[in-house]
Symmetry: C2
Subunit: 340 residues, 2 copies
Amino acid sequence: MKKLFNSKDRMPDDMIDGYVAAYPDIVQRGNNPRVVHRTRLRTKQDKVALLIGNGCGHEPIAMGFVGEGLLDANVVGDVFAAPSSDLILEGIEEVCGEAGAVLLISRHEGDVINGNAAALMAQDDGLDVRPLLMYDDISSAPKGQESDRRGAAGTLFIYKILGAASESGMGLDELVQLGEAVRAETRTLGAAVSPGVSPLTGELMFTLPDDEIYIGMGVHGEPGVSRRKVGPVRDLVAFMVDELLEDKPIPANTPTVVLVNGSGGTTMMELLTIYAEVNKLLASKNINAVSPMIGEFSTTQEMGGFSISLFTPDESMLQYWQAPQASPHFPQIFSPTEST
Amino acid sequence: MKKLFNSKDRMPDDMIDGYVAAYPDIVQRGNNPRVVHRTRLRTKQDKVALLIGNGCGHEPIAMGFVGEGLLDANVVGDVFAAPSSDLILEGIEEVCGEAGAVLLISRHEGDVINGNAAALMAQDDGLDVRPLLMYDDISSAPKGQESDRRGAAGTLFIYKILGAASESGMGLDELVQLGEAVRAETRTLGAAVSPGVSPLTGELMFTLPDDEIYIGMGVHGEPGVSRRKVGPVRDLVAFMVDELLEDKPIPANTPTVVLVNGSGGTTMMELLTIYAEVNKLLASKNINAVSPMIGEFSTTQEMGGFSISLFTPDESMLQYWQAPQASPHFPQIFSPTEST
């Protein structure tokens, strides 16, 4: 396996070593070495704790987003494997105070089972912990069955908005409601053009003919729902935006945040080209694209591909989205005075 | 070619379309559609203009770093091809005012020839434009022949520090001296594990046996200087850091900024692991790593690999490095109160 690692066993731990060494003022290890939390935690005083517990291998989303204005803690599982409920519980106990906690769970089976179990155990211990399921991938279950869908890159909107809201003092009930409202306004669809190599097996995660593209590939290489022939990217983007808008229509003049997320092996040139096409399509429907996010955030190793997420925030969600944050590897979000 | 593009001819233009559409408050097109400059330029008043004119295909470095506290303008060539001297001249004329301009040139033949020619033509037109050659890749020429070396990812230190210094009002002569001083304090060495696909030919940019790593690969796929067998990454990093420190020794207790730059198809897990190893090696020599930058910034399509840059700033350089900036795709730089 031609990856830059020391050993399979040490991958997550070596990664955490690098992260806490690089940003000691922002993040540090907890008592359990697989718990990463903010260096300056306020959750034992008055702040609701916001945390995730996921498998790693999708960085930066599974590692980099702890910091002021974003997450309080991150419980790091093995590669592509949810942390145990005991480990997640430890993470919760390390950071959760009187104000309670929201445990964000991207909807994948292991994460849901272990996360919910950890939340129940924490509740038994008297901690007010609410699991919040996140799902946005329209290819993984039909319209009307949204809660059966998988979590994908659009979960980032929940991270960021609850991060900003909890920072500004929002209480637990309101945060959960806000998270559900953001979830309701988010849709994502992905496409893959080339496989990544699994760090677990050293093998390509899937195969695909040279002239085909998978639509609806999952973040662990779960099979897509359909294939398309390679062609001009504008046709692919038009197809995907149509699917997204069919799933959740967006009225004209609705401010819409676009997230173009690369899967790991996709160039910024391609991602910017995709954004240009999405922006043109939305403009042709008089939908206003604002404060986009473009780059590789939720990845599947060096897989070639991308996803498009559309999110229609209300005014307060948009303010939280645009609020400053101090977390390594999360980009600055800009607020155009006039969008085009 | 399985890339996400509309057509070969339109690649740079489609990319620019996306960039200016995404961040209209930060960047806009100039009169020439291949010139991208800040939306709010101050260079026709009192600010020295800071600009680059490079081939594209290395994003984000070749596209994303225009904005307050960084570049004023970017003249975009074709993929892997320097813009013509006429095009660079147009870019200079669009932004350069009485305070003059610094044209940053990463030392590659076409960029040097066309950049220097453009600067001369601008000087003939009465504009005070200074070309500043940037070179940092220790594999491309021996010690003692530093000015024959190629530009690599460590050129980013010059972008950022001159960006902050020019923002704060530094004059042209001082800026050029500062840029030369930063260059003198920077060394970079790269390694490649797998090729990217050239957007020009649709072919892999090089081949490499399954168990080998190239040391000293250039950013356009120029051949490396040696090969190594794949092994634990700590051994590779130890070799590379030794080479860097042999080229330019760093005394104990010297604040040192580490840049771990991914080549395009390298995961954040790998880059953080590499940072962990660099940090341990420096700590073992009592060298203080501060304010690192870790991610994919200077890329060669989806090439697998990375470079390590070591930069030993003086106090004022470090302040400029850590100063806030507002450019899409450039990360926040953090200032640990206590480095480890």
